[in-house]
Amino acid sequence: MSSTATTGPVPADNLARRRRRDWLVERLIYVAALLAILVIALIFVFVGKEALPVLTSAEVQKETDLSKLFLPQQYGTPEVPLPYVWQPVSEVPKYSLMPLLLGTLKVTLVAMLLAAPLGILAAIFATEFAPNWLRESLKPLIELLAGIPSVVLGFFALIVLATWVQDFLDLDYRLNVITAGIALGLAVVPIIFTISEDALTAVPRSYRNASAALGASRWQTAWRVVLPAALPGVFAGIVLGFGRAVGETMIVLMASGNAAITSWNFTEPVRTLSASVAAELAEVVFGDTHYHVLFFIGTLLFVITFVLNWLGTAVVNRMRRRLTGAER
């Protein structure tokens, strides 16, 4: 606009051409956006289609159904009852998803307990306390962590971290929830850090000045003024990090021991939903019950992350409205 002001009136045909180009680019962007949505929808449809026989096919239901997937069963011996068992290759295939769900939850919990405080505190340090030169190098460095391929993180956890954790905590199992959770946390930290840092930086300068004018220390300002103002963004970071942790496959596949145990013990090995799909799908008989159950797990993961993101956005919007006082 400023250029038209300085170069004077634009010839009419030039203007028409420009409009046409504008229209074209607009359509192109529109199509690109539609395509992205379409691809996601198609992925969901195809994964869902393969999962559907778990609910509809009589053949599949002979071996498993929703109650067998989620409710306690009479497996094991009377002395050692095992209500939830994941043993798809067996005389009587057992497809309880509970050990996998619980496993995913346990690993994610450890990862978030590590990554959320670390990511948020690092972000507060970077925006509020670090001298300029440090901030400039800190941000790209932490973001570099996000660029580490998860297979490398998994390998590091398997070979190095597992030994450290086992020696330090004196555990029976080398590969366990804690080791996998720490490695997973390392993958999640950069996500939480980056988004929190952006949110904290976006808090207006005037907030800090006003707080300082009231006599608050830098720490008080950061903790009581800047962080609450940036809370929606920080929360979004946590939710996205959680989604990544639930879906992450390679790290847990390598570092968790992959034993489908149903317990709240954090020192035992663990098998997650995503790792089960990765480990088993390659060799499963096409169209088999096992095959459909694995796709069911895929759909479940999709739904979990989808609902998480949706919930996250909803909560963020509510918080933002309350914090900016738009609710009145």
Binding site: K94, R174, L175, G257, A259, I261
Partner: protein
């Protein structure tokens, strides 16, 4: 104009392909993933010696191979377990031919523990108790008072199924068994874990030792060595098979005969399995020469 040219090209190509097909005789081999690498190595060497015959080897699992044999979509079915009665009858019903069973190699599984573990031998019964969770402490099988840490393979592995069928007698692995992707991973894990136990191909690694295995409480423990496996003394070993619908003839017979010949068997060791002993080899070769017979134990 252009379309016609294109069509002509296509036609020429089709004719050429047809000619090539007529010259090249195709043999398809399908089945066990345990055998797929060995099968491919056999195919390579055989094709080099017999230009004009093409052998295609694919995996998919023993079950897939047997289904293909029943449907008539493969010439050879590779199997890491004997075919069941029902499957043999299916081939008879669908193809009208008797199944020919040909043992082509031997495979053995070793049980590993950490080199510092004082336990030197276990019976199949003890192994079963350990892997199904009935025995949880090394002191119950003559070791230190420590928890037993179980290492297993992913359930997509043939080794997993074989160990489950032959050692666990089809019972389920205890849930605490950690599943690892391959023999190397199991050896690596056991080498790092003084309380660990694992199983896999008879391979050697630093930091682990192979247990002697007892078939039952009376018999002595047997070391998993080449001699013991070949003499059928080691209890956790199995035949690997090729199955045919009817007596193989022509190129197929040529291939089968070569596989159980001394030369074909020399390929086996390079891939990490065991060749047939002389008696079994002669028996397999005789099966190809004689009338089609139902495989019997």
């Amino acid at each position: 104009m252009r379309v016609r040219k294109f069509a002509l090209c296509l036609l020429a190509l089709a004719v050429l392909a047809g000619l090539a097909h007529a010259q090249q005789r195709n043999i398809t081999v399908k089945g066990s993933d345990t055998l797929v690498i060995l099968g491919q190595r056999w195919a390579e060497v055989f094709m080099k010696k017999n230009p004009g015959i093409s052998v295609q080897v694919t995996g998919g699992g023993t079950g897939t191979g047997i289904a293909a044999l029943i449907n008539g979509t493969t010439d050879v079915c590779e199997a890491s377990r004997p075919m069941r009665e029902r499957e043999i009858n299916d081939v008879k019903a669908r193809r009208g031919k008797d199944v020919l069973e040909l043992p082509v190699a031997v495979d053995g599984l070793a049980v590993y523990v950490h080199e510092s573990n004082p336990v030197a031998e276990l019976s199949l019964k003890q192994l079963r108790a350990i892997y199904t969770g009935a025995v949880k402490n090394w002191s119950q099988v003559g070791g230190k008072d420590e928890r037993i840490i179980l290492y297993s393979r992913e359930n997509s592995s043939g080794t997993y199924v074989y160990f489950k069928e032959h050692v666990l007698e089809n019972a389920d692995y205890f849930p605490t068994a950690q599943t690892l992707p391959g023999t190397a991973a199991v050896i690596n894990a056991v080498a790092k874990d003084t309380r660990g136990i694992g199983y896999g191909g008879i391979a050697y690694g630093k930091g682990i030792k192979h247990l002697r295995v007892k078939a039952n409480d009376e018999t002595p423990g047997v070391e998993p060595t080449l001699e013991n496996v070949l003499a059928a003394k080691y209890p956790i070993s199995r035949y690997l098979y090729w199955y045919f619908a009817g007596q193989p003839a022509g190129d197929l017979k040529k291939l089968a005969e070569w596989v159980v010949s001394k030369e074909g068997q020399s390929v086996v060791e390079n891939v990490g399995y065991y060749p047939l002993n002389e008696k079994d080899r002669a028996a397999s070769a005789a099966k190809l020469g004689g009338k089609a017979e139902r495989a019997s134990k």
